[in-house]
Amino acid sequence: MFNTIGDVKTALSAQRYIPSDEIATTVFLAEKLGKPILAEGPAGVGKTELAKVWAAATGRELIRLQCYEGLDETKALYEWEYAKQLLYTQLLRDKLNDLLAGVTSLAEAADRLAAEEDVFFSSRFMLPRPLLKAITSERPVTLLIDEIDRADAEFEAFLLEVLSDFQVSVPELGTIRARHQPMVLLTSNNTRELSEALKRRCLYLHVDYPTAEQELQIINLKVPGLPPKLAQQAVELVQRLRGMDLKKHPSVSETIDWARALLELNVRHLDRATIENTLNVLLKFEGDLQRARRAMVRDEGTRRDEFGRLRRDDESGRFRGN
C-alpha cells in the first residue's frame, strides 16, 4: 500500500491530518510488520483521529472498540443471541416433534437433540462484537481499540491473545482465523500502567502536543477562514498556556474549537477582553482559568506587544537595555 514513509505522509495529509515524522514512520512500520500501534499521550492530541484518517487513507473500514471499566469478552468479542435461539426453537417446534417422533426413552430423545445442536450453535446465532467483526471481516479493516487503559487488567490479558495471533477460539465453533490481518491502533491516556506483555507486542507511539509550527499548520488546515495573524497569536497563547502549571493543558482539539469560536465571533484582533471572554473554551477548570487570567495580567506589563501594541517601541528598547 505504502512504499515509502513519504507516501504515508502524503496520504495522511490528503485526509487533512498533519503527521509528524514520528507518526508517519510508525504507521509505515505497522503496515509493513503487521504489528499493532500503541499510541499514548495527553487527551485531545489526535490519537483517535489518527485511526480515522489511517482507515480513510488506506480505504479500510474502521471498527471501533471503546474500552470502559468492566468491559468483558461478551461485549468485545461475541455473544450468543439467546432471544433468536429461543424464537427459532419456538418456531421449529413442529419440526422438533417430527424429529423426536417414535422415541421411546428420554435418553434417546436427548441424544437426537444433541445431534442437532450444531444448528443452534452456529454463526447464525452469534452476535459478533467489534473484535470478532474485525477478524471475520471480508475486507481489510482498521481496528481502533480506544482508551485501553480504562479496561481491566484481565481484559488486557485477553486482548493479548487476539493481538498476537489474530485468531479467537469459540468453544462451540472452533478457532476462527482472521481473513485479513486487521491494522490495530490502541490508544491510552496513561491513567494506569499497561502490562509489559501488551507493550512488547506493539509499536509504541508517544503523541505529544505539537510544536507551535505544527499547531499553526493544523489550525490553518482545520479552520481555513481564520486570518493568518490571528491564528499565529492564538497558537502562541495556547503554547504559552501549555508551559504553565495547570491542572489540564489545552489540547489540540480545544485549540481548534477556540479558533472556530474566534472565527464565529468575527474577531479581528486578539485583545485582552476577547481572550477573557473566550478562555473557557480552552480551559475547563475554574482554578486553571483564574491562574491563566492572573498570569495574563502579570504579563500585561512585560509583554504588552502581544496584546496591545501601544508602547511597543520603548518597550523593546527597554528590553535591549537590559
Binding site: I5, T25, L33, D152, A153, E154, R200, L203, Y204
Partner: protein, 462 residues
Amino acid sequence: MDQRIVDFIHALRAKGVRISVAESIDAMRCVEIAGVADKQFFRSALRASLVKEPRDLPTFDELFPRFFGLDTPPPLQQPGSGMSPEEREKLAQMLQQMLASLSPEQLRRLFEMMMTGQGMSGSQMRQFINEHTTATQMTTGFQPWATRRAMRELQFDRLEQLLQELLQKLREAGVSEAALQQLEREARENREALAQQIGREVGNGLQQREAEERRRRPVEDLQDRPFEELKYQDDDDMRAVINRLAAQLRTRVALRQKRANKGMLDAKSTIRANLRYSGVPLDVRHHRKHLKPRITVICDVSGSMRAVTGFMLMLVYALQDQISRTRPFVYYRTIADVQADFQRLRPEEAIRVVPERVQGGPWQTSLGSCLETFTRDHLDAVDRRTTVIFLGDGDDHMSPPNPRAFEIIKRRAHRVVWFNPEPPYRWGREDNHMHIYGPMCDAVHHVSNLRQLVAAVDGLFS
C-alpha cells in the same frame, strides 16, 4: 550497523530501559524496513520499537546521538602522507626500533596505533581498556573521572614525549622539516581520535558493567529487607519491585473478584433480565460484592516513618485501578490533606514533596491533636464505604492520646486498619499509644518489610 544497534540496546538496558529480545528483533526488522538513509526515520523506527514508556524517552534521546550521531570519533589516518618513499622507510625503521624497546605494553600499543593509523574496533578497545585499567570499575556518574583515570593508567600523556623523541630521531636522520611538521600534525590528530575513542569506550564499558550488575542483583531479597535499609535503593529498582508487587496483587484480587461474582442469587435482577426469554431463567444474575474499596490513608511522615510511608503510598497509587477513591493525608505535628499533590505530580514526586506540607521536627509527632484536627476539618474523607488506614508507629510526643476522636472516625468508617512498622513489643511503651488505638481498630498489621506490607494491603481487598 547491526552490531551498533545491539550495542545501543545494551546501553539502553544499562540505563534501566526494559527491552526484551522480541523487541530487539522488532527493532532490527523496523530498521530494515525504514532504512538508514534518513536519520529522522531511522530514529523514529528505533524509538517506536524499543521505547515503550514515556519516562524512558529522555534516556533514548540522550543515548541516540552518542551511538548514531556525528560525534563518533574520526577514523585514524596513516601519518606520513607528505613524505617521500625513502623518508617513509626511515620512519618505519625508527618506529620499529622504538617500539621494540618500549614498555609497558599498553603504551607500546597506543603509540603504534597513533603512528601507523591502524586502530581498534570499539569492542577491541573496550577489552583493551578493561585489561589494562581499572576505570570501568567505577559507576556511570563518574564517567569523566573514569576516563581520566584510564588515560593515566595507560600513560596516555607520555605519547607526546614519545612523539617528540621519534621526531628528533627522524630529524637527525635527515628528514625534511616540512614533512616532519605534517607528520607531527597527523600524529596529533590520531592521538585526539584515540582519546575520544577511549572516552567513549570507557563510557560504554561502565554502562555494560552496570547492566550486568543490575541483572545480578537479586530483586527478590528486597521484599524481606526492613524498610530502613531500602530507602537508599535505586529509585528505578524500587519502582520495578513495587510495580511487580502491584501486578501480583492485582491478579490475586481479580481472581478473587471473579470467584466472588458467584455470590448470592439476585432474584429481582434475574427476573427482569429474563423477561425477554419469556421468564425462563437463562441469564442468571448474582449479587455483586462491592469490591473496590475507598481508601483514606493517614500517614506518619516523621523521619523514622518516611520510608515506609513512601512505599505504602507508591503501592496504593500503583493499584489505583482497583481502588475507587484514595484520599491521602500526612501528619507530623500538624496534619494536611495532600490529595492535590498526588493529582498534580506523579506519585514518586509527590511522595518527595508531601513531608513539606506539615510542620514538625524530631520528637514533635502529635498524633492526638492531629486526630482532633482531622475530625474537625476532614471528616468528609470518611464515609461508610471508606476504609481508613493509619500508617504510623503510634508515637505521640506532644499530646495525650485521643480515643474520642478515633472513635468518631471509626464510627463513620467502613473499617479502620492500622499498619505499624514498629515491632509489637514496643507498642504501648513510653510515648507510644498503640495499646489504646490498636484495640479500637478492625485490624492491626505489623509491617516491617515489603512482603508484610503487600500482605496487609491484600487484606484490604477481601
